[in-house]
Symmetry: C2
Subunit: 406 residues, 2 copies
């Protein structure tokens, strides 16, 4: 007997047929004698519909009320799944964030989990009852509903698995695991049997949509054994594990890409101390995150060009902020470019292998792809290139690192 948390995303519960499919998978685990908590998202499209209602009602909405509205998506799914499980003879009840309670801080719209009371749930496991838990939602210290931000249901599942001391946290999704890269672009992409927490974290934060970054961080911190697998197929998925569980580590495990970034270049910025603060301070004040940053060495020692990336959705606001600060900063020109893609090669093997970046630069140069910005970390090299090269860059790199399936 094991205690497991199963998590199903929006496409896996998109309609009643799919909810019945989820119920079948839950029943199978129950019939195997396992204790099961199942975390579900809103039916596909529902969260967008609700967000859109809030945004249309007012462009400056109260996030506490936004949370009241958008949390209903998961509330509908848990009720329907509990009903469906019962109709199959499986004892089940739904749990909303405030009922557990899953306590969060007061950061409405992107709250962080502080504690989860699992006492009643565990008692009911003993009575053979499945806990059907609304993902993405919690309750703040004042008793108001909070949500955890986009993709928050992954975080709900991992946090619940940690609180329940579950043996496994199975994240069911519309793909059957974590791939070396996006198989829709690279036909020869391979499914990974195992990936380390750190690689998964980089993959997620560099654009792979399969798991939410925060949930991977949490799994790593709490040592939750996460598995990513398909809700539609009966094939083994990808296990996210500690580094020491992977015997033969490849140099590069995967290649991620993100079209969510946009590039800003400030031309002829005075090359003096404090200039970076005068640029990035106002952006931070406007809650705009900056990702990659490159400062060119200036020829004269007086002026330099500064390039960095922001999220595409923040581009217009970033440009506005920088224009309003043009006197203080003193640049000659501001260039914005949406047509870029960030491509990242990721692997814990990099720590012990030299030449990983060089392989990347050469593979891209061979195809005539110009690198606009480079940034590196211990287990990752990212480059920014023109968006039109996305597919070509991914395929070339996949081959260059020997990742192609036989």
């Amino acid at each position: 007997m094991a205690r497991i948390v199963m998590k199903f995303g929006g496409t896996s519960v998109a309609d009643l047929d799919r909810i019945a499919n989820v119920a079948q998978r839950v029943k199978r685990e129950v019939d195997s004698g396992n204790e099961v908590a199942v975390v579900v998202s809103a039916m596909a499209g529902e969260t967008n519909r609700l967000v859109n209602l809030c945004e249309t009602a007012s462009n400056l909405f109260d996030l506490r009320e936004y949370d009241v509205v958008v949390s209903t998506g998961e509330q509908v799914t848990v009720g329907l799944l509990a009903i469906t499980l019962q109709s199959m003879g499986v004892s089940a009840r739904s749990w909303l964030g405030w009922q557990i309670p899953l306590c969060t801080d007061m950061a409405h719209g992107s709250a962080r989990i502080q504690s989860i009371d699992t006492q009643d749930m565990i008692r009911r496991f003993g009575e053979g009852q499945v806990a059907v838990v609304a993902g993405f939602q919690g309750v703040d210290p004042q008793g108001r509903i909070t949500t955890l931000g986009r993709g928050g249901s992954d975080t709900s599942a991992v946090a619940l698995a940690a609180a329940l001391k579950a043996d496994r946290c199975d994240i069911y999704t519309d793909v059957d695991g974590v791939y070396t890269t996006d198989p829709r672009i690279v036909a020869r992409a391979r499914k990974l049997d195992k990936i380390t927490y750190e690689e998964m974290l980089e993959m997620a934060s560099q654009g792979a949509k399969v798991l939410q970054t925060r949930s991977v961080e949490l799994a790593m911190k709490e040592g939750v054994r996460v598995q990513v697998l398909s809700s539609f197929k009966d094939t083994p998925g990808t296990l996210v594990v500690d580094e020491d569980e992977i015997v033969e580590q490849e140099m590069v495990s995967g290649i991620a890409y993100s079209r969510d970034e946009a590039k800003i270049t400030l031309r002829e910025v005075p090359d003096r101390p404090g200039i970076a603060a005068s640029i990035f301070g106002p952006l931070t004040d406007a809650s705009i995150n900056v990702d990659m940053i490159v400062q060119n060495i200036s020829a004269t020692g007086e002026k330099t060009d500064l390039t960095f990336t922001v999220n595409k959705t923040d581009l217009n606001r970033a440009v506005e902020v920088l224009r309003s600060q043009s006197q203080t900063i003193g640049y000659s020109d501001l260039l914005a470019d949406r047509d870029v893609v960030k491509v990242s090669v990721i692997g814990v093997g990099m720590r012990s292998h030299a030449g990983v970046a060089q392989t990347m630069f050469k593979a891209l140069a061979d195809k005539g792809i110009n690198i606009q910005v480079i940034s590196t970390s211990e287990i990752k090299v990212s480059v920014l290139v023109a968006e039109e090269y996305t597919e070509l860059a991914l395929r070339s790199l996949h081959t260059a690192y020997g990742l192609d399936a036989a």
Copy 2:
């Protein structure tokens, strides 16, 4: 300064434009210096959509889970209305049933209100905050969401008005008040300025859809001053008041009709003690309500015909139950008829006027309308006639009782 409860139904909050219209009406009351709690229903069509999801998931659903699902309709509306009020500069926050808390019994799907904690809400009135309250929902002693049954938002509003000791409970709807009869059928129907609780109660329970029966009962019991008025027009509505507030009482105040009933006749039932129990006992056991009952005097003293009505939605089940009991009851034939309408004339003036029923019978006879069943109470006479006569019967009676507008 007054303290008022405003209630808006599904058609009044059907989309964001209408929610903005509701917010304007709330703002007007706030600007007049009033303390306001506003109770809202789900956006039109939403409750039906949610009920349908539950019914499709399983035909024998757990009402506790049903309540989890359907209560989301009101949850969305309160969030959106609070956002809209804030965007107009009105301080507002949403309240879900469990947050107030509005405590109910455990009868999920049709729970009854037991207590409402208004302390925090009243404190916030003092800070100028509008309470935006989800109608139709509460929380049971175990902390699970309950709903109050169809039309329950009227009951939420009246109960909240009683708990808040509000000066007024304004029920905004898609008609501009209570009419002598359905103005869509009788063009000369008149809007009533005032109606007594008792008459309103009979109107509601005899088919007028303007207020839910339970809410009128509660208003009468608690002495809540209810006004029915239009969310779309700026005209005075109808006040529901104590009998002594109406100086000149008409004999008949209104004519209601209901197409929700169906007629069952059992032929040649043995005319012996206990026979009624053998028929209505099994129906009660199956939770089928019987409304009008007539037993004919038998010519021979041995056999009699028995006719009664049930809700149309219960007809098939009722026939099934009675067929299964045919040996015990011993009737010769069972006739079921869906094509009937119940027409009721209502007025507290009946208590002091004779001949009210006679006027009804004559008016119907003059038009050749056959009366199938009659039932009376102190302030009401109801008859069952063939459904095809609905309009003719209503118009004839409206004229016969002198209710036509000039």
